[in-house]
């Protein structure tokens, strides 16, 4: 078992034992599910909207070179500098260089999963810049030197008391532990940072080819501030986020909000096409867009799993996943957690080290059902398992399955096997749950049913 797999199991043990945590996560996600179901029901035809959203993303991804080219041309025409980065390191270097060239030191960021993916904050801090996360949840976990717990709810795992203590320690006195007071404390600190920041870095949810714009979806308004106050704005964008037409957003924006947070629309959906124009008196004087590959072309080339690039980062699959609900986001130890993470991580960082996430699933299919852009998530997990075996067979497991085949493919052997199980049953009761128990992994927490004396086939045979 790889180091990652061992770590995952350890975390899973820890998290499933933490009943308070399990309850917090479950309550939060169950409420989210209720809101989501209500919003979907308000649609005149959610299945049709979902099918169209899936087809729009499919169209975008399957004509990616055309749309990317048009996007880059059009946004450049509006005064934006477009950069292309094949790898995570290149993207970090490009961004660091931009900041360096401006002679800047203070950077403020709004939420970007892509930024997490390339470990941008760490890279910039190493390069000597001061980087502040402005999204409230991200700001909190940054102070704790932790990774975000969930793409949409970064601080889901924290109680107000913990956050108050954290703020008292890092920011100064806070009147109380009410979410209102805590949020306002963060607001004033971050307001100062915004006004002092020289560079703002954002992610983006979509890039519109037709009109040369990027689109950012948020609720807090910190991305709007990031795109307004600092003199230089940089947007980091995965190449797969393209949409062909501006009006595709008329469908994708409400679909994203509905599936992700159960809202009709998030508070701010903002389109940016360039730096401040002639006649505008605020906004960045320079705007850069960094287009990132980082193995997206590799996923594109995987014909079976290309649809993973449809992902609009709504978090719906995480929200419904019973595994995620019980172990939480940190256990995955990856930028992308939940079902989409389990599908993507092998592509990003190799199958041997990441196949365990595909194995830690019952393939229940709730994720696939929830995905608003119809990514065939749970079947991809099955494919990952198959690919992992093709790459590296476990001789022990292979042996076990071969033995099983001989048991089931010969009716006489199968009969004998059943009889032996019935005979062994009373013995099992003695060793149940102990080190001697061959099915200890099961019997630690669960009983086994008694093996009946007469199996179905026995009954069928005697009937004749």
């Amino acid at each position: 078992m790889t180091g990652n797999a061992k770590k995952f199991l350890r975390e899973a043990w820890r998290m499933t034992r933490d009943l308070r945590h399990r309850q917090t996560v479950r309550t939060a996600l169950e409420n989210n599910e209720i809101a989501r179901n209500q919003r979907q029901a308000a649609f005149q035809d959610w299945p049709a909207a979902r099918q169209a959203a899936a087809e729009t993303r499919w169209e975008a991804v399957n004509q990616l070179d055309q749309h990317l080219t048009v996007f880059a041309e059009r946004i450049a025409l509006r005064g934006t500098k477009v950069h292309w980065a094949s790898t995570d390191m290149e993207a970090c270097q490009i961004i660091a260089r931009i900041i360096q060239t401006k002679g800047a030191r203070y950077v403020i960021k709004s939420k970007s999963m892509t930024g997490e993916e390339i470990r941008l904050t760490q890279a910039l801090e190493v390069a000597g810049f001061e980087v502040v996360e402005s999204d409230l949840g991200e700001f909190i976990v940054q102070l704790r030197h932790e990774a975000p717990y969930h793409p949409v709810f970064p601080a889901l795992h924290l109680a107000r008391g913990e956050i108050k203590e954290l703020f008292q320690r890092e920011l100064g006195d806070v009147p109380s532990d009410s979410p209102e007071d805590l949020a306002m404390a963060a607001r004033s600190v971050l307001r100062e940072k915004f006004l002092a920041a020289e560079v703002g870095i954002t992610g983006a949810n979509f890039a519109i080819a037709e009109t040369g714009m990027i689109s950012i979806t948020e609720n807090e308004g910190n991305a709007r501030l990031t795109a307004t106050l600092p003199k230089t704005m940089i947007t980091l964008l995965g190449i797969e986020k393209i949409l062909p037409r501006l009006e595709d957003l008329a469908l994708l924006m409400p679909v994203l909000a509905t599936a992700g947070t159960g809202q009709a629309m998030t508070a701010y959906n903002t389109l940016y096409g360039g730096p401040r124009q002639f006649g505008e008196n605020d906004g960045p004087t320079e705007f850069h867009v960094v287009l990132l590959d980082n193995r997206r072309t590799k996923i594109l080339a995987d014909v079976e799993q290309r649809d993973a690039l449809h992902c609009i980062r709504c978090g719906a699959c995480l929200n419904v996943c019973p595994v995620f609900r019980n172990v939480g986001g940190h256990a995955y130890g990856a930028t992308y957690s939940g079902p989409i993470g389990a599908v993507l991580m092998p592509h990003r960082r190799g199958l041997p080290d990441w196949k365990h996430l595909s194995e830690a699933s019952t393939l229940c299919g709730a994720c696939t059902e929830a995905c608003p852009v119809k990514i065939d998530l749970h079947h991809h997990l099955l494919q990952n398992r198959r690919n992992a075996v093709r790459k590296q067979v476990s001789y022990l497991e292979q042996f076990r399955y071969d033995v099983f085949t001989s048991l089931v493919n010969h009716s006489l052997v199968w009969s004998l096997a059943k009889k032996s199980a019935w005979l062994a049953w009373p013995l099992h009761k003695i060793v149940k749950g102990t080190v001697l128990d061959p099915v200890r992994a099961w019997s630690r927490a669960r009983d086994l049913p008694p093996v009946p004396r007469e199996s179905f086939k026995d009954w069928w045979r005697t009937r004749k």
Partner: protein, 226 residues
């Protein structure tokens, strides 16, 4: 070869193999309509008349904790603004030049910061309210659509703790597809650098999933429509 060429090259190579459209396995018929035309049919229903749109925008505003007032005259709009000024004790106000602000804001008798002229954001940060026009109001979702060109730049509608929108009733459109059509017609090929779809005040539930308004953007959003 530039990185651009490298990336585009890899994409073209990958796309040599075609992948069928999604949804085939669940027997969903292919989308019969392009996304935006279909969106009219699939998104939540909106009635056919102005009064339905007002009613829906009103209902959505209530849910979003947006204050929405439909007024019958510029005088009523002035009264509404004065009322807010007194209730909230406004000392510093920011706005921009435009048909409605020019007609309505002088009644406040307060020194105004104009964000459509060169200004200092620190001054804007000290303002109690930002008053702007908009491009559209969307009934379907309770959304205000505005741009950096028509709403006094980027910061006016996000920095002060209260954002007041002065709108005209002919700006109320039924749904999202209509709003996008309006933007295309209005701006053609010459889009402003920022267009924002604002649905309610700034909000978060990052702390214990409890709703808090105004973590970064305005805590209050008021829409006055004449």
């Amino acid at each position: 070869m530039t990185e651009r060429e490298n990336i585009l090259g890899r994409i073209r190579e990958a796309l040599k193999t075609k992948v069928p459209r999604p949804g085939l396995t669940d027997e969903a018929p292919p989308s019969s309509l392009p996304p935006v035309a279909g969106a009219r049919r699939w998104l939540p229903a909106v009635g056919g008349h102005f009064k339905d749109w007002v009613e829906l925008f009103s209902r959505n505003s209530l849910e979003l904790q947006v204050t929405f007032q439909l007024l019958s005259s510029s005088d009523e709009m002035r009264q509404a603004l004065l009322h807010l000024r007194d209730a909230e004790g406004w000392k510093r106000v920011a706005s921009h030049s435009g048909m409605l602000p020019d007609a309505i804001c002088p009644v406040l008798s307060l020194i105004m910061l104009h964000t459509d002229r060169p200004y200092d954001v620190h001054d804007l940060a000290r303002c109690d309210v930002g008053i702007s026009e908009c491009d559209a109001l969307i009934a379907q979702t309770g959304t205000v659509v505005l741009s950096s060109r028509r709403a006094g730049g980027r910061a006016l509608s996000i920095l002060p703790p209260h954002h007041v929108v002065l709108a005209r009733r002919d700006q109320l459109v039924p749904n999202l597809p209509e709003a996008f059509e309006l933007l295309k017609t209005e701006y053609g090929n010459d889009y402003p650098s920022m267009i924002s779809f604002i649905t309610g005040p700034s909000r978060t539930d990052d702390i214990e999933r409890t709703l808090v308004l105004g973590p970064h953007g305005p805590k209050k959003l008021t829409v006055l429509c004449v």
